[in-house]
Every structure is written in structure tokens, then in C-alpha cells.
Symmetry: C2
Subunit: 305 residues, 2 copies
């Protein structure tokens, strides 16, 4: 049986790239494996796959009971197919907090490390095999790290992420700032997406004191393009939240260059969240949060209602 390797339902560069990387590694080690997607990848992930010569993986479709799967870049059942616990999960490779809810039939390989990027952990797990990976696979790993660390600007960046990225860049003869610029330009090109698509593009569900949030982040080098659409984005929040079973969408537009986030404030609840969580003074329908770049390190741990 072919093992299917996939990340979460909002495929970004790491979730898409590391699935392709690990499928290659399993194949390389003698286990037939293919990557899958659980949604439409963002524009950066699509650019990165093409840049390194890969087709985007096909959508997963229905997940059969007993299907061998490897889960990468998440351990959260809410971000995975509803039938995930009926699959034969053979490994989990992740860098997020343990959420609880996944179950396995027997003991399996689970490796979670507090790194910025799943691909960094994969490079470590591969040992000597990582050095022998084809350039495309090395390039994917490098792009995943650039993406998740925002080219080392994010506070999630560890020395290990940086060292692995710099080693891969050296071996590939790639200039990291140049590749990062191209990736971030691709990520910022969001004009063809609807408001609802933007709100769901890089979004995770979290519950704070009984309130279910969709915490959405858009990382961009051109925040004005998104902020020009703020009225219609805010108008779409209620329908998106309702459809997804959440109480409220929170949208943070992260300016990668200025290293700050702009949070949209459509109502009293979001104003309270901004004030209580970030000590912000809200006067209009947006508020700038200086230095805030990481949902994992800075937004989620701060959330209060």
C-alpha cells in the first residue's frame, strides 16, 4: 500500500513542501509514498513547488479506513480529515504544541520539536540522507524554512532552523534574501482570491474561554493591497465564521518587511481581544501591533476575551 503523506487543511509552503520532502524520503528508504494536499495551497506554496520543479500534489479526497498515512506539520485533528483516527497513522512529524485528539492503534514514530519549521526537523531526522537529497528536495526544505521563519525574522526562528537553511543554501548555491524576496512576492499576490478565501488561507481554530476563534494570518510584503479590501473582508467574517462553526474570525495582516501586524476590528469582541491580548489602544477599524509576526509565539499565547 502506498503511504500518503500530508499536512493540514490550509496548505502553506511548509505543509505542502514537507509532505513532498517526506514522501521522497520514504520512497528513498524503500517505502512507497506519495504526497497529498488537504486544500488549495497558498500562492507562495504554489510558487515554491514550481520553482523547484515539482507538480503540486493531488488533493487527498476520501480517506479510506486503514489507509497508511504520515501526518506532517500538525497534530491537530481539527486540521485533518474527520476520519483520520480510522486511518493507519504510521508517523507524525510536527513542530506545533500537542493538542490531543489523535489516537493510534499501536505505538508509532512521533517526533515533535520546538523548531520554526517541519522541514528543519525532517532534515535532522534524515541524517546523512539529507545531504544526498536531490537539489529539488533540498530546495523545498530551504524554502520551507525561509517561509516559516519569514527569512529568520520571526521570533520562532531557532539556531537550528537557521543553520540548516544556511547549509542547504550553500550546497545549492542559492542566495537566501533573493529567494525570500521571490517567495514573499508570490505570497503577497492575493488579488485573485475572494474575501472568504483570504480569511481561510492561513487559518487555525482556537478556543479561548469558550469562544471559538478562527485565527487567520496573512503574511505579506504589500499589506496595503489587503488593507484596501478591509471593508469587504470584515463584512465576510460573520458568514465565514458561521459556516466554519466558529464565533469570530480574527485577521492579522503581517507586514514581513516592517515586522508588525495590523489586526482588523469589525466589532466589540475583536476590540476587546485587541485590547486585552495585546494592550492595544483601538480607535478605528484596524490596529497596528508592532513586532507581532508569529501566530504561534505571539498571537495564540496572548489571546484573551
Amino acid at each position: 500500500m502506498t503511504t500518503l503523506v500530508f499536512g493540514h487543511k490550509s496548505p502553506d509552503t511548509d505543509s505542502t513542501g514537507s509532505a513532498i520532502v517526506w514522501a521522497w524520503y520514504l520512497d528513498h528508504m524503500g517505502t512507497k509514498a506519495e504526497a497529498r494536499l488537504l486544500g488549495t495551497p497558498n500562492t507562495e506554496a504554489a510558487f515554491v513547488a514550481k520553482h523547484w520543479g515539482f507538480e503540486l500534489p493531488p488533493l487527498l479526497g476520501d480517506l479510506a479506513a486503514g489507509q497508511k498515512v504520515v501526518i506532517v506539520d500538525t497534530n491537530n485533528p481539527a486540521e485533518l480529515p474527520e476520519t483520520i483516527n480510522a486511518a493507519d497513522i504510521t508517523a507524525i512529524i510536527d513542530h506545533h504544541k500537542l493538542v490531543g485528539g489523535l489516537e493510534t492503534a499501536g505505538p508509532i514514530d512521533i517526533t515533535i520539536r520546538p523548531l520554526a519549521c517541519t522541514a528543519t526537523l525532517m532534515y535532522m531526522l534524515m541524517g546523512a540522507h539529507g545531504g544526498h537529497a536531490p537539489d529539488g528536495i533540498k530546495g523545498l526544505m530551504l524554502s520551507c524554512i525561509i517561509s516559516d521563519t519569514l527569512a529568520f525574522r520571526s521570533p520562532t526562528t531557532t539556531d537550528t532552523d537557521r543553520q540548516v537553511a544556511e547549509r542547504l543554501a550553500r550546497e545549492l548555491g542559492v542566495d537566501i534574501p533573493t529567494l525570500a524576496d521571490a517567495m514573499f512576492a508570490a505570497k503577497s499576490d492575493v488579488s485573485r482570491f475572494s474575501d472568504a478565501e483570504l480569511l481561510r488561507m492561513d487559518s487555525k481554530e482556537y478556543t479561548v474561554e469558550g469562544v471559538d476563534f478562527r485565527v487567520s494570518v496573512l503574511e505579506t510584503t504589500a499589506p496595503q493591497v489587503i488593507l484596501d479590501r478591509k471593508a469587504s473582508l470584515m463584512a465576510s467574517m460573520e458568514a465565514v465564521a458561521k459556516e466554519d462553526g466558529a464565533d469570530q474570525v480574527l485577521l492579522f495582516v503581517v507586514d514581513i518587511i516592517r515586522e508588525e501586524a495590523t489586526m482588523l476590528i469589525p466589532n466589540d469582541l475583536t476590540r476587546t481581544v485587541a485590547e486585552k491580548s495585546f494592550g492595544a489602544t483601538v480607535t478605528g477599524d484596524t490596529v497596528v501591533l508592532p513586532g507581532v509576526m508569529s501566530r504561534k509565539k505571539q498571537i495564540i499565547p496572548a489571546l484573551k476575551v
Copy 2:
């Protein structure tokens, strides 16, 4: 803050020994750490600690919110203090199936591998440091592996467990069969335990089709000593189950030498379990299950009601 390292509530050799081993390793790497116990260790674990020159770790007592802890040899909240999710869990090192239910505030180090023994995984995680461990720590790791593999007889044994054990034995100049005999004799010396203590000594809770079982295993080289007490053991099952919130205790007396288990059959439910799960023909109040030695590999996956 001192990091507290502990395993589950029914401390056996691996759960006790690997907590001491990892506390040593954290200390060795510059993080102040101490081992703790969550219950009275079995006679083999007590023998092993003394044999290698260690005091038994103190009991955990109340677990304060925010206390830094490392969890070893389990990832099951039912086997841990009720307040475990309020602690600051910094790492989980385990070789059991993922149960779900543990949550962490942020991403942490989680390593689970399908090995027979936690200590084997620790030896791998230590890398070169494992070779430089003091003899007592190496001895604990060796004893953990002998215990969890029943001296390589258990079907959970992997090549890695065996290789690590043989390497440690070589470095220590220890004969594995001789050490195993002494450990198993200690484990078989259960005369001073009450029936309720025996039923809880090596016990895990599992739910099968809505029925909550306490699945208890007693590994011994002298099964007759326990089976001579079968009437009073069976009489104690109802009270133990009730007190622990379970529907039924299942007791398997594993004969390490003959490589078989004897299951006690106090009532219709246990008879049905024996027949449906193991295809056994039950005629009296015990039934022999040839080749059954591992709760994890052979008993739990087979359980039907």
C-alpha cells in the same frame, strides 16, 4: 526550577528506571532534574534500583501548576496526575500508542518510537552521551530493556532493543541471562502484596465497546504462587474495579519461562472476553493462552466483548 521526571502510576522497572536515567541525563546536560514516582514500584523495580546503587525516587505528591515536568513511558493522562495539563510539560519520551488527551502550552520535545522499552529510546536520544554514562545509569538502561522485553522473549522486542542491551551488557561486563534471572525472581516475589495490590501492580485502563477494563498483567517465573491465590484474587476483582471506576479487572498471569499467560475467569463477562478475544475454550475458572506475553502487542489489540 528543578524539572521533575516521572512515568506512570504503576511503576515497573522501565517507568522507574527510565525516570532516573533521564533525570541524570538532563542534569548531565545542565538542566537541574530529579526523578519522581507516582506509586509504589513493583518488586523488580525496587530490586533493580538497589542493584545499581540508586535510592528509589520519592513520591511525586501534589503537582503544582506550572511545574516543569518530563513524562516518560506513557502519554496517557489516565496514568498521570489529574492536574498534568496544568503543569509545564517540557518533553514526552515514550514507546506506547498515542492515546490523546495530553496538551501542551507550546511546542515541546515529543519522541515516541515503536520500541519495546523507553530506555532504548533514551539511549538513542543521548547519542554519544549514552556511552559516557556512569555504570549505574547504563545498568538501569540494561535492566529496563531486559524487563520490558522479558529478556528478548516478548514479541515487542525489536532489533534496536536487543542491540542496545547487548552493547550495554558488553560495556558493563554483565551476563544478560544471569541478571534477568535475578530480576525475574525479584518480580516473582509477590507474597507480601495483598490481592488488591496484585491486581493494580501492572495495570492499564482500556475501554472496549463501552466497557471499561483494568487490564492487569503479572509477569512471573513462578505462576503457581499467584494461581494458588486465584480464589481470593477473583473475589477482590469487583471491589477493585468499583473503586477504580472500571467495569471489570482482567488478570493475566504471564509465565516468562513457558511463554504463556493464564487468564482468570471469575464470571461470564471474562469468559466471553477470553473466547472472543483469544479463541479460547474456557472450562474452569482459568484458561491458558499459549504464547501470550505482551499486553501491548497481544492482549490489548485482541480485546473484544
